[in-house]
């Protein structure tokens, strides 16, 4: 503090700001954290295939950064998903036996190859939360532009259509959210993120995602935490499951054992922390990789406000 004026300024600011006491409640903070996290998942389509693409892409780097010696194939580490599937993938005679080949590194390499072959697919993710605040929705992600369209319904908001449009203008990256709320016949728009204004290392929009991000996968792999947890038949696909622990339970990515494209994301959310079953949130997202048609491209990349909806300020 230099001048008398600055000293007085400091004094006055302290006086101004000392008007009210504040005593936070940890339980309330935790409840808000859960709500916020869950809302973020639904709104951002954090279970969206776009995130899965990132996650699976991360497998590539993780796999190449490791020796690949991460335990035997199909190692089961928990009862929830360790059931060996009776519908194990049937492989052609030219493919090496799964038991010998399916290390994490092997699966990672195959996933990387599969994703390299994806040519602008639109990825549909049918996602559902189970638990006290059950909700469901469908998210479409354009793997070429990164834009998303969400069609969701939950008990708090009702039916909602939302678009997330990524934009770069004058060197600034932003994500524009446009939500159309059917219960009120209103729509609003808000720019949620601008990388040029968010300090490095601060919490970003992706930070709440339960999906295994590339960095997390790499860390998990390096520490031996990323595991192959077994095989399942999911929506007609023979799949291989990868599991990673995280702060609020664990996350799984199930990939088709033939195409090696992700077909399911599963998150057991707060699974171990809250013993009450009604609070035991689980998130399941089923992924479908759709050919790029003009209709799907328009649906995802162009905002279509329903007729008669009124523009309002963002809540």
């Amino acid at each position: 503090m230099n001048s008398p004026q600055e000293t007085q300024l400091s004094h006055d600011l302290h006086r101004l700001a000392s008007g009210q006491a504040y005593t936070p409640d940890l339980a309330a903070i935790k409840q808000l954290a859960r709500q916020r996290h869950r809302r973020s998942l639904m709104r951002r389509g954090a279970t969206a295939a776009g995130a899965v693409v990132l996650a699976a892409g991360g497998l590539f780097f993780a796999g190449h950064g490791s020796s690949g010696a991460h335990g035997p194939a199909g190692t089961a580490i928990g009862p929830a998903v360790a059931t060996p599937s009776s519908a194990a993938p049937s492989r052609s005679a030219t493919v090496a036996p799964a038991v010998r080949m399916e290390t994490v590194a092997y699966v990672a390499k195959r996933v990387e190859a599969a994703l390299a072959g994806v040519n602008g697919d639109i990825i549909r993710n049918d996602q559902a939360f189970s638990g006290q605040e059950a909700s469901s929705g469908t998210n479409w992600t354009d793997s070429r532009t990164g834009n998303e369209f969400n069609d969701m319904t939950d008990s708090a908001t009702g039916k909602l259509h939302g678009w997330e449009i990524e934009q770069v203008a004058n060197g600034t990256f932003t994500i524009k959210l446009v939500n159309a709320v059917y219960s009120t016949h209103t729509w609003y728009e808000v720019t949620t993120y601008s990388s040029s204004h968010v300090p490095s290392g601060s919490s970003s929009v992706n930070a709440t995602s339960p999906i295994m991000t590339p960095a997390e996968i790499k860390t998990s792999l390096a520490s031996g935490q990323l595991k192959i947890v077994g095989h399942r038949n999911i929506n007609g696909h023979a799949t291989i499951g990868l599991r990673s622990p995280w702060d609020f339970g664990y996350r799984e990515l199930w990939v088709d054992s033939q195409t090696f494209l992700p077909v399911r994301v599963f998150v057991d959310y707060y699974s171990d922390h809250h013993p009450t079953p009604s609070q035991d949130l689980k998130l399941t997202g089923n992924l479908t990789w759709l050919p790029r048609t003009q209709a799907l491209v328009n649906m995802v990349n162009k905002v279509h406000i329903p007729a008669g909806f009124t523009h309002v300020a963002a809540p």
């Binding site: 600011l13 936070p24 808000l32 720019t191 300090p199 930070a207």
Partner: protein, 174 residues
């Protein structure tokens, strides 16, 4: 399962201690940044919720306090883009103030400060709050704002320039 439970309990204890220590200063900063006690309350709640979600990352930061202050600033920035941009600035602090003539002058002067503060761009306002409420150094302020010390200096200078009428009034009443 039990290991995870223990981890979560440890997290709650650690976060709870941080929260009890830092919540009030955050609340005060939030008030000066947004000008409304109720909004400040919401902002701090949201900030702490976010910090709780990312606590493993926050606690590993060089300065968890600086990290959480960055979250708070992002929260303020987010609100400022929306309807809170039009939120009214409190006319006077809501504390229990004396009402003598001298005190009334003092109240009016500080109310003027609050209004002048809110005429500043958010970054300049944050600089003022961090430097003169929190008593942070230019380096610490730069760390929170995610900019260089030079930027902090220039932002401070501009902000103080804008607050000149308040500062001049301070000088004349001394």
């Amino acid at each position: 399962m039990r290991r995870t439970e223990n981890v979560m309990n440890g997290r709650d204890e650690e976060f709870g201690e941080f929260m009890r220590d830092r919540a009030s200063p955050l609340h005060q900063s939030a008030y000066l940044l947004c000008g409304d006690w109720h909004l400040a309350h919401d902002l701090v709640q949201d900030t702490l919720a976010k910090a709780y979600l990312h606590w493993p990352r926050v606690r590993r930061a060089d300065s968890p306090d600086a990290y959480v202050r960055r979250i708070l600033l992002n929260e303020v920035r987010g609100r400022w883009r929306g309807r809170e941009r039009t939120a009214t600035v409190s006319r006077f602090p809501e504390g229990r103030e004396p009402v003598s003539p001298d005190a009334a002058d003092e109240l009016a002067r500080r109310a003027g400060l609050l209004q002048a503060l809110h005429a500043l761009p958010l970054r300049q306002r944050a600089t003022i709050v961090l430097r003169y409420l929190e008593g942070m150094s230019e380096r610490e302020t730069a760390a929170v704002l995610g900019c260089s010390e030079g930027t902090v200096k220039s932002q401070s200078a501009r902000a103080l320039g804008t607050l000149r009428s308040y500062l001049d009034r301070t000088e004349s009443t001394r």
